[in-house]
């Protein structure tokens, strides 16, 4: 016993190190905060409150970038407005001709971004609307430019968004022009990559990328970005499609949470089939 105590005292630093490493790895295996239940709401609420208190402090660098972005946007909108007026007229005529049902618009909940963690690759944002405003986990978030991300946690008056430029992002997306599907992932900085697109399919620089109809999480046909570079991946049968997000995350201030609920019946069916297939293929 004495020898054991001497051993522990002698190597206490190494024993402590191993214990703490094991504890850290165990905590990592639990996963993200969403598995901690109500505790997350307390953290979201507290941090959100502190961020809202200091949200009035301007960030000169971000303001300058926003100013430039707004000028560019203004120019684009002026051109778009003229085109849109023409397109609306054509659309009305064509709809009446084809008797297509009008597209259903989801309810949008406007919110201000009161805090952002875009540093050291932790890309989250806090908004000043929460469960009291009808915001629930899993809702999509958009801005006037396009898809922003998804709600991953909400307290009574605040919610945390996982931005599109996040390592956990997986969006089922399609190319607007050719309807080619793929999975969109973040690859660091401001770069998204559309994966699983075979070389034979037609994707070109400048093509617009939208959310796909296949995604149970994101509403279809929301703008994600444009193809910046499309090339063949060496030693594979796929293309490497680099996408520039439509949203400028560094100047993000106002967003809209899309009140589109996940189709439970579809989710349950897909999960059940997935489990059945997994069990069938398991040894």
């Amino acid at each position: 016993m004495r020898g054991f105590i001497e051993f522990v005292v002698r190597f206490k630093n190494y024993i402590t190190l191993i214990t703490l490493v094991v504890m850290s790895l165990s905590l990592m295996s639990i996963g993200n905060l969403s598995k901690l239940g109500g505790f997350r709401a307390v953290i979201v609420g507290s941090i959100g409150w502190i961020q809202s208190v200091f949200a009035w402090i301007p960030n000169p660098v971000a303001l300058k970038a926003e100013n430039t972005a707004l000028r560019e946007l203004n120019l684009q909108l002026a051109v778009e407005a003229a085109r849109s007026r023409q397109a609306t007229l054509e659309n009305t005529t064509l709809r009446s001709m084809l008797r297509l049902p009008a597209l259903t618009d989801h309810r949008l909940i406007a919110a201000d971004v009161i805090g952002k963690t875009t540093t050291q690759q932790r890309n989250y944002a806090t908004i000043n609307k929460g469960q009291a405003d009808g915001i629930r986990e899993g809702m999509s978030v958009i801005s006037d430019a396009g898809l922003v991300g998804i709600v991953i946690g909400a307290s009574e008056h605040y919610a945390i968004l996982q931005l599109l430029i996040n390592r956990d992002t997986r969006v089922s997306a399609k190319v607007q022009r050719t309807r080619v599907d793929g999975i969109l992932q973040w690859e660091g900085e401001n770069t998204l990559v559309l994966k699983n697109v075979p070389r034979t399919l037609d994707v070109q620089d400048g093509d617009r990328i939208l959310t796909s109809n296949y995604s149970p999480r994101y509403p279809a046909n929301i703008v994600i970005g444009t193809v910046r570079q499309s090339s063949d991946e060496p030693n594979t049968l796929f293309r490497r499609i680099v996408v520039a997000p439509a949203v400028n995350f560094s100047t993000l201030e106002q967003v809209f949470v899309v009140d589109a609920k996940v189709d439970q019946e579809r989710s349950v069916l897909e999960r059940a089939v997935d489990e059945r297939l997994t069990n069938r293929t398991a040894p």
Partner: protein, 176 residues
């Protein structure tokens, strides 16, 4: 509660309980400052890691054992506050505390923190910290670890090292 940071061990808050409570309060303040205010110091998405510098400080003042535990708790706190995967920062900062603890020299604490040696220790600990953090961070992504680490990990280490100049100058001034 008056915290005296002139590091003369006999005067430096002799009651360990009060001292550790002080560390806890400072850690909480630093984590909130990091999340709420450090966006103003952001350079290409990189900010200095205040809790890393604080962990190194504790390891140099209290020793390797306390440094590791302080690193673990600081990391855990930051994981909660920054909505990160819990345990990632805890592991990285535990290792940072472990490494910084090797430089603990009882009786020469002022000399260590109040000199460029402190910045060097922050750089070494920060490098290992960011190496571990980025390794676990990049696991779910199909991104080149070396490219990502060279861009963010090294930049973050350098920024933290530069930020460490402030506590170093503070202690150096007190020393003189």
């Amino acid at each position: 509660m008056a915290m005296n940071f002139d590091l003369r061990s006999s005067e430096y808050v002799t009651n360990p309980v009060i001292r550790y409570i002080g560390y806890g309060v400072i850690a909480m303040m630093l984590s909130v400052i990091h999340v709420v205010f450090l966006r103003f110091l952001e350079v290409s998405s990189v900010t200095p890691d205040l809790l890393l510098i604080f962990t190194v400080w504790i390891a140099l003042v209290e020793g390797q054992f306390t440094g590791m535990i302080a690193g673990f708790l600081c990391g855990l706190l930051f994981d909660f506050v920054s909505t990160d995967v819990i345990g990632t920062n805890a592991l990285a900062k535990t290792m940072a505390g472990f490494i910084a603890g090797y430089f603990h020299r009882p009786g020469f604490i002022k000399e260590t923190i109040g000199s460029a040696r402190f910045m060097m220790i922050v750089a070494v600990s920060g490098f290992v910290h960011n190496l571990i953090y980025n390794f676990f961070f990049l696991r779910p992504m199909q991104v080149s670890f070396l490219m990502f680490f060279a861009q963010y990990g090294v930049a973050s280490t350098l920024y933290s090292t530069v930020a460490a100049i402030f506590p170093m100058l503070y202690v150096a001034r007190k020393k003189d």
